[in-house]
Amino acid sequence: MATLSLNDVRKSYGKTEVIHGVSIDVEDGEFVVIVGPSGCGKSTLLRMVAGLEEITRGTIDIGGREVNKLEPRERDIAMVFQNYALYPHMSVFDNMAYGLRIAGIKGDDLKARVGKAAEMLGLTTLLDRKPRQLSGGQRQRVAMGRALVREPSAFLFDEPLSNLDAKLRVSMRLQIKDLQRRVATTSLYVTHDQVEAMTLADRLIVMNKGVAEQIATPMEIYDNPANVFVAGFIGSPAMNFFPARIEGGHLHLADGSQLPAPAGVSEGSVILGIRPEHLMPAPLDAEGSLSVRVLAVETLGADAFVHATLGDGDADAIVFRVPGHDRPAEGERVSLMVEPGKAHVFDAATERRIAEA
């Protein structure tokens, strides 16, 4: 049990800086997920916490103790790897016991601790097996068990579910969440999957190109994305963006349609962002609606996603969601209303969020 803090952590390879100063205080028992596209530096950041990568600048504290110069084993952390990294020649028991044995724990104490972790993960009957005799999900659980048994100050997860099939991923996700709640160990979890990030996290770090774009709870990030990148990355299907101008108290879109402008925003170029779920079909050509032409309809059953273009032009496609049984036809013209207060306005130059409309 411990807090974990990163203070302006930076990483450079030669002269190229790849992590540009990340700071966060993770509270004791908190589950923080680092999410971002591949190459954004999230794994590097995690590996710096683990002690597998050197920290170029800044400090990392675990449990109030600076760990910059400590070896991984001295940091009191445990890590779950993407490919599980189970020792292929050792049984499940020995895999889980290895770290404890190195720490000098033997005999009944060792057996008890491995036994307890195995029971929590439903691995008791598999303890004598070798990794190659296990299914993907079972291997994943052993990797979890190996971390759990150490009773560390913090768990580090490096994309632990990305090698599992979709169904197993959902059930493992729930298990990880449940387990973390029960042992209440501070956790740092890296993933590129925003659904995993949203469902697991107490707090999220959205990273892009080595920068922590936003650190907040999942719902706060969903409701108030700090900038265009975060807004586009979190949410599925992704948010629709429209270039627009604010002039005379109105938002002017490229096709000539107008929406009321938010208060307190000066005139100029902006980017308007609206999530697919906040665009609702309205009576044709209703006041303050957007007129779109349907390009294609993807039916999912309960819902359907409609791809359309604004006006008659060939502007970028926008996506909105309709009930599965009530969907427009291809080529049809549809009017859409924006749910009040759910549109986001970003500065066109800085891409930072400046208002909601």
Binding site: P72, R73, A78, F81, A85, L86, H89, I102
Partner: protein
């Protein structure tokens, strides 16, 4: 291809068996021949054709060879020759494995200044076989007082790039994550080597052991150079001496026995450890 699959007719299958049996006869015959010869009396050997079945002198010949017969021709007992050869073969096999594992471990799992220079220095020794530096190497041996010593027979042969390259290649297939998991579990260099790397290398080591044992046992030029005293000869060199000084009195029956004793241990190792040997051979070279 399995029988009955594409185009393996009954006739071509029969032909295949005939050719293979013929091939095996040719390949095995020289060894069979000397083995049979070692069981006959000198008189039978000197009056060809040699009978194609083992003769009545088996026990007699071998007893005589072991109890001093070979000592009389070569000036050293066969037990000593076998001991020397075994020491050399095992020394080379173990020495090479230990040294090349250590250097491959350093090259793959550590970063240190001039790492690649060290690697190339080892690699280039591939291009300097004993044969191209015979005299100066001999001089080094003389200067270091290594003539007629086991160290002299073994040491110069245990630094080989091939074994180091093999281990390097194998170590590089160990996933990064496995290494990192071990580090997070608290394993330092020694524990990682002993608990993870060594068990995972077991089959490679076994395969390499067979190949190196054969390599050591069949050495010729090197033992020829660094042994003057008969008592330090390997069995192969001793055999060559017996033959080159052959005359009317040479007890060929005992020479044949020595020959069988020189062939038998490595053949047994190759046949008994066939699985590792074949795997090792095909993988070392590729």
């Amino acid at each position: 291809m399995a029988e009955g699959l594409v185009g393996t007719s009954r006739r071509s299958l029969t032909l295949a068996h005939v050719l293979l049996i013929l091939g095996c006869v040719i390949v095995a015959f020289p060894i069979y021949y000397v083995t049979v010869a070692s069981t006959h009396s000198l008189r039978t050997i000197l009056n060809p054709p040699l009978p194609m079945l083992p003769g009545p002198e088996t026990i007699e010949n071998y007893r005589e060879a072991v109890s001093g017969g070979i000592n009389r021709i070569g000036g050293v007992g066969v037990d000593r020759l076998l001991l020397n050869t075994t020491i050399v073969a095992l020394g080379i096999a173990f020495g090479k494995i230990v040294i090349s594992m250590a250097s491959a471990y350093a090259i793959v799992f550590f970063r240190f200044p001039l790492r690649m220079v060290c690697f190339w220095l080892i690699f280039i020794t591939l291009m300097l076989p004993v044969e191209v530096r015979i005299l100066p190497t001999y001089k080094v041996m003389v200067d270091l007082g290594l003539i007629d010593t086991y160290a002299g027979l073994i040491l110069p042969l245990i630094a080989s790039a091939t074994a180091t390259l093999l281990f390097r290649q194998f170590f590089m297939t160990i996933p990064n994550e496995l290494f990192e998991a071990a580090r997070v579990d608290g394993a330092g260099p020694w524990r990682f080597f002993k608990d993870i790397l060594l068990p995972l290398s077991a089959t490679n080591i076994a395969a390499l052991f067979v190949i190196l044992f054969i390599y050591g046992w069949t050495q010729y030029l090197w033992p020829l150079l660094v042994t003057n005293s008969n008592s330090m000869n390997t069995i192969v060199i001793a055999l060559r001496k017996m033959i080159s000084f052959a005359d009317a009195d040479t007890p060929w029956d005992l020479v044949m026995v020595t020959c069988v004793l020189a062939i038998l241990p490595p053949v047994l190792i190759v046949v008994l450890m066939q699985r590792w040997f074949v795997k090792g051979l095909v993988e070392t070279e590729k």
